[in-house]
């Protein structure tokens, strides 16, 4: 038995936003009350000054296994996730071979169980080999445990094929997670088209390259009824399209990354920092402000990192040939605490909603609640913990963080997965 004592409990699902004690036994929460006396033999964790919530879920990460274990593998990815405060992650299928069949889905789940830190929910590919041409075995993957379907990395280019995918997925109660990028518009783009591409002399990746596909996929959602989740939304106009779709009552959700909230194309200077090369690219200040507003007002459902590890040699080169992506699992919580929660812009219940509650809903996972009877998947955050973003801070194999050098505060101190303490005082167990 474990007694979490003196935490500030936050769970909007049960209307909780006050100090509580939580007693865990046999992998489940057995009691939540203002004050609980420690039963004999119980391990007591002093949570004074910390905030307790349902375990955080990052529904958009790349763990690179199988195929690119030199960047990251399921074990190092899980260590990073745990260090970042997560109980659950959803892994994108652009592995090698692509995760496009039930066996590949099962492989990830079994490997993660051996690591024993996180619940890993593979996202299956929509099309075989993510080549956009033939349906992958979506049913087989659903039965094996896939939590959603996506051709993340480039998206499905043909509207007809995307329609087929969404029609087919609609029978399985899973969302299609859309990487919205019309490659005929984005071409060789490596940076937001506009001021930044002009200033730095590189091909632009126009906002319309995303918006046109958001528009298309919303209409395909309307046609097929298949739930649509727009991945890593990056522009104000994309967000307006999602808002309008929601107002129409369509099953459309979306997610945003910290780098699209807190960085803009202006951060890319003459030093051509390749860790700022991400897909979709960093946008304008107005876009970032609109995304923050969308996160606060409920238009954006989920907070994700799009954790995209790469080896140093893949980033330590010219910007135009560097790989796209930043790691993020270990910086999301500190960034949200420092930039939004501490400033009073983002309430704790809203943070829990976007980082724990909504992702479970989109992935069709069982809800986790701060109440008796719920599974004990919990995250404890110390809002005061200092974090300096250095390569040494990361449990990830990779160091390609867009936020290197930043001094932040607020980080997960403890994580419990089915009552097992996987992070203790900031140390992965």
């Amino acid at each position: 038995m474990i007694l979490l004592k003196g935490a500030h409990g936050v769970d909007p699902q049960v209307g909780l936003d006050e100090p509580v004690d939580v007693l865990i036994d046999g992998g489940a929460i057995v009691e939540v009350a203002p004050a609980i006396d420690a039963p004999e033999g119980a391990e007591v964790v002093d949570c004074a000054g910390k905030v307790l919530m349902p375990g955080l879920v990052d529904m958009h990460v790349h763990f690179r296994e199988p195929g690119f274990e030199y960047k990251e593998d399921i074990e190092s990815g899980c260590r990073a996730a745990t260090h970042g405060g997560y109980t659950d992650v959803a892994t994108m299928p652009n592995t090698q071979p692509v995760t496009d069949n039930g066996t590949a889905v099962a492989f990830q789940i079994v490997t993660a169980e051996k690591v024993g830190l996180n619940r890993v929910h593979p996202i299956g590919a929509l099309t075989r080999g993510e080549d956009g041409e033939a349906l992958a075995e979506i049913g087989d993957m659903t039965f094996a445990g896939a939590a959603g379907f996506s051709d993340d990395g480039h998206g499905v280019q043909s509207a007809g094929m995307m329609r087929t995918c969404m029609e087919y997925v609609s029978q399985f109660d899973r969302a299609v997670i859309a990487h919205c990028e019309d490659e005929s518009l984005t071409g060789n783009g490596v940076i937001n088209e506009g001021r930044a591409s002009t200033r730095l002399g590189m091909f632009g990746w126009p906002a319309l390259g995303e918006e046109l596909e958001v528009m298309r996929d919303i209409e395909l959602c309307r046609l097929t009824g298949c739930p649509l989740h727009v991945a890593h939304i990056s522009t104000a106009r994309s967000l307006d399209l999602v808002r309008a779709a929601k107002a129409d009552g369509l099953p459309v959700t979306c997610e945003v990354t910290p780098h699209h909230l807190f960085l803009t194309e202006e951060n890319i200077t003459d030093s051509y920092n390749t860790n700022l090369k991400v897909n979709p690219p960093l946008r304008t200040r107005d876009d970032a402000a609109a995304l923050v507003e969308g996160l606060l007002d409920g238009s954006i459902d989920c907070l994700v990192s799009d954790h995209a590890p790469h080896a140093t040699h893949e980033k330590d080169c010219e910007f135009e040939i560097a790989y796209f992506g930043t790691i993020g699992l270990e910086t999301t919580v500190p960034l949200m605490m420092t930039n939004l929660v501490e400033k009073g812009l983002l309430s704790w219940p809203r943070f829990v909603e976007v980082a724990a509650v909504a992702p479970r809903r989109v992935l069709r996972l069982e809800p986790v609640r701060l109440e008796a009877g719920s599974v004990a998947d919990l995250t404890l955050i110390d809002p005061e913990a200092p974090v300096t973003v250095t390569p040494e801070y990361f449990e990830s194999k990779a160091e390609n963080s867009a936020f290197l050098g930043q001094r932040l505060h607020g980080a997960a101190s403890d994580v419990f997965v089915a009552g097992k303490r996987t992070l203790a005082n900031g140390v992965v167990q």
Binding site: T198, G201, M202, D270, S271, E318, E320
Partner: protein
């Protein structure tokens, strides 16, 4: 002394920097007109010409400039270079640097390559063109040519015509002209226009005919022929008709105005032969200015102060 350590772009140059380069270039222009075209200014210095994409005129111009300053030169690049063999740029630079060289002159296909070089060496770095980004010595030779003709740069009206979007020449020339007080108008088909002309603080139009009569300088950019065939412009013929500097258009230019082109020219496309060869064409003066302005840049960056310029 210049305010910059390396010559990477023209946006970091002050008006004073540019004036110094142009004034110094004039001294070297005089050297270049002698029968013995050589000064000992950079004797004992080693300069590496790292050309990671093909170049004939820029490379020849730099090589002559270095030789006339008595520097030792090492030419690298092309198919035999280790970069082509898969070595990273950082490794290549560190390897050459370990041989104690004084400067890199770099031509590259990718924007920002000169910056990556600066992070891997203590040697000075001169950008000889990086992708679609900048080509600062081209801008200096253009400014030199224009200033020699008019005696000044401020207040001049300059039209830059052509493929602005993919042009490192425009990328360097526009800010340099602005810094020196010239008024710049960009002209090109919408598919070749700069995405954000406000960044440069310049006007942009798709009509050369609307502006040609006001211009002191009409600067024609080279059109990369591989951009034709429906990708951005339909044909050589139509481009010539809409944007080419034809005899008829040239005849409308105001008295005393000049024509420039960075070369190599597509005669019959962006510029007609008669216009290129007309008395007010400064195209060969630009080539001549290339050597003396590059000598000036090398001399000022490599601190030839303990040597005698003459």
């Amino acid at each position: 002394m210049l305010s910059v350590r390396n010559l990477i772009d023209t946006t970091s140059l002050t008006a004073d920097d540019i004036t110094q380069i142009l004034d110094t270039a004039r001294s070297f222009d005089e050297v270049n007109s002698r029968s013995i075209k050589k000064v000992p200014a950079l004797r004992g210095r080693t300069i590496v010409n790292l050309f990671l994409e093909p170049s004939t005129r820029t490379r020849s111009s730099f090589e002559l400039a270095e030789k006339r300053l008595s520097a030792d030169t090492l030419n690298m690049g092309g198919k035999e270079s280790s970069v082509v063999k898969g070595e990273s740029l950082a490794d290549t630079i560190q390897t050459i640097s370990a041989m104690n060289v004084d400067a890199f002159v770099c031509r590259a296909s990718f924007a920002g390559t000169p910056h990556v070089i600066t992070e891997n060496t203590d040697a000075k770095v001169i950008n000889a063109g990086d992708g679609k980004h900048q080509h600062p010595t081209q801008a200096m030779l253009d400014l030199y040519t224009i200033r020699e003709h008019f005696g000044h740069l401020d207040g001049l009206k300059v039209a830059i015509v052509g493929d602005l979007l993919h042009s490192r020449v425009a990328g360097s020339l526009v800010p340099a002209l602005k810094t020196m007080g010239a008024e710049v108008t960009l002209v090109g088909p919408p598919t070749f226009q700069v995405i954000d002309p406000a960044y440069y603080g310049v006007e942009q139009t798709s009509s050369i005919d609307d502006v040609i009569e006001e211009m002191d300088v009409v600067y024609m950019l080279r059109v990369q022929l591989e951009r034709m065939g429906g990708a951005a412009i339909p044909s050589r013929r139509e481009y010539n008709r809409l944007y080419g500097l034809t005899k008829e258009r040239a005849a409308r230019m105001k008295p005393g105005s000049i024509v420039c082109h960075p070369g190599p020219m597509n005669r019959g496309m962006e510029i007609m032969g008669e216009v290129a060869d007309a008395p007010n064409s400064k195209i060969l003066d630009q080539v001549n200015a290339g050597v003396c302005t590059r000598m000036a840049a090398l001399y000022l960056l490599l601190g030839g102060d303990d040597n005698d310029l003459a």
